[in-house]
């Protein structure tokens, strides 16, 4: 990424987040049963990981429509110069069908925008795309009216083998979008970017092919990385972790955040896990969907500082710290 996150141009704004879930849901238990998990193993997911349902496209529903729906809502009738599509799965059936970028741009109503994919970093892709958008706004010749639409979401239900991280989580179908405004934009943003942080540890590059032993080391390493990157990102904003009002988490499992809160001394009620049982993990959009839900349910107040956290197999950790600046919807 070059310059460390949080040092490039620290005053971009973010619009309200838009999230689209499919009509359908499937029980996590059923997905796991189909994959051959025993009843005993499935109880671990339900009781400890807190995973009950996973969003699943209903017959006739299309992932592209979720992405377009989320994107159009975030754009709110305005255009975009660049669309960044952040995804975790490298190959998705709908996205490799010829003309994907064109269909998306036309569907979003921004036929003249540039379209790029942000991938190969697994579930940190959407938060990383926010950083890429900041770089775009920091380029020479950037204008105050430039707009970058960050889109995220994957179709987990395409293949069970791609949606299950053994012993860890089950991922679903969902899309999220947010517009990143430049500094000095005339548009009113809902959130002000304060800082960011990231880390990568390629010891865990085998991802879904990791052994149980590697998965255990990965989980332990991620706990430490999240604590470290969160501390660093908060520090870049002149804050301590205790100054953060909310943590918008990756929603892989309640077990991870229980362990994190114990290890890092963070109060559990500051971690917004409300969506976890009913929506679960949806690749790279979890932190954005947690922010969306917290805003929608009236939890956020002007001035609240929120840390959005994504954890990606590989391993990657990405943190974005924002401040709530707009009025409640």
């Amino acid at each position: 990424m070059g310059a460390p996150p949080g040092t490039l141009c620290a005053d971009v704004g973010l619009s309200r987040v838009s999230v689209q879930f499919p009509r359908g849901n499937e029980s996590v238990d059923r997905v796991l049963e189909r994959a051959g998990y025993s009843a005993f193993e499935r109880r671990v997911f339900a009781k400890f990981h807190g995973l009950r349902d996973t969003p699943t496209l209903a017959p006739g529903e299309r992932m592209e429509d979720l992405l377009v729906g989320a994107g159009r809502e975030a754009l709110a009738g305005c255009g975009a110069d660049v669309v960044l599509y952040a995804h975790s799965q490298v190959v998705q059936e709908f996205a490799i069908r010829p003309g994907f970028a064109r269909r998306m741009l036309d569907g979003l109503g921004v036929p003249g925008a540039e379209f790029y994919g942000i991938s190969h970093i697994n579930c940190v892709s959407m938060l990383r795309a926010v950083e890429v958008a900041r770089r775009y706004h920091a380029r020479p010749g950037a204008g105050p009216g430039d707009r970058v639409l960050v889109l995220g979401g994957d179709q987990g239900s395409y293949d069970d083998s791609a949606r299950i991280i053994p012993g860890v989580t089950v991922a679903g179908d969902a899309a999220a979008a947010v517009v990143v405004h430049p500094p000095r934009s005339q548009e009113s943003s809902r959130y002000r970017y304060l800082s960011g942080g990231a880390v990568r540890d390629d010891r865990f590059h085998r991802v879904l092919r990791m052994t149980q032993e590697e998965l255990t080391r990965y989980a332990k390493a991620c706990l430490g990385y999240v604590a470290t990157v969160l501390h660093e990102a908060a520090g870049r904003a002149g804050l301590r972790v205790t100054d953060l009002d909310w943590i918008m988490p990756d929603l892989t499992s309640a077990t991870f955040w229980r362990d994190f809160c114990r290890a890092a001394g963070v109060e559990r009620d500051r971690v917004c896990l409300d969506l976890l049982p009913v929506r679960g993990h949806n690749f790279g959009i979890d932190a954005m969907s947690a922010l969306w839900h917290a805003d929608l349910t009236g939890r956020l107040r002007h001035g609240d500082r929120c840390a959005l956290i994504a954890v990606g197999a590989g391993a990657y950790v990405q943190v974005v710290v924002v401040e709530v600046v707009g009025e409640q919807p």
């Binding site: 807190g50 077990t255 229980r258």
Partner: protein, 87 residues
């Protein structure tokens, strides 16, 4: 239930959590360091204890200290048994 009975239940349940037989177990045995118990194994151990002892584990109440030694886990199990009225 006697303390020795609880520890025997823990020994048997550890077979599930560790995926191997455990023979030599004491109050001071360290679950992670001495036995090599890992996170997923810990969750499976707790489910096994629920099944064999009829206790209800609340994930929100679990502190790391519970899993320090066999004795600390036995204390936790005893507390759960008291709640169920079995002790």
């Amino acid at each position: 239930m006697e303390r020795t009975g609880i520890i025997e239940h823990i020994r048997q349940s550890l077979t599930v959590g560790l995926g191997r037989e455990v023979t030599d177990l004491h109050e001071t045995t360290l679950l992670y360091e001495d036995l090599g118990l890992e996170s997923i194994g810990t969750l499976e151990l707790l489910l096994q204890l629920e099944d064999t002892l009829g206790i209800e584990v609340d994930p929100e109440d679990l502190e790391m200290e519970v899993f320090r030694t066999v004795g600390s886990l036995a204390d936790y199990v005893t507390g759960c048994l008291v709640e169920t009225g079995a002790v």
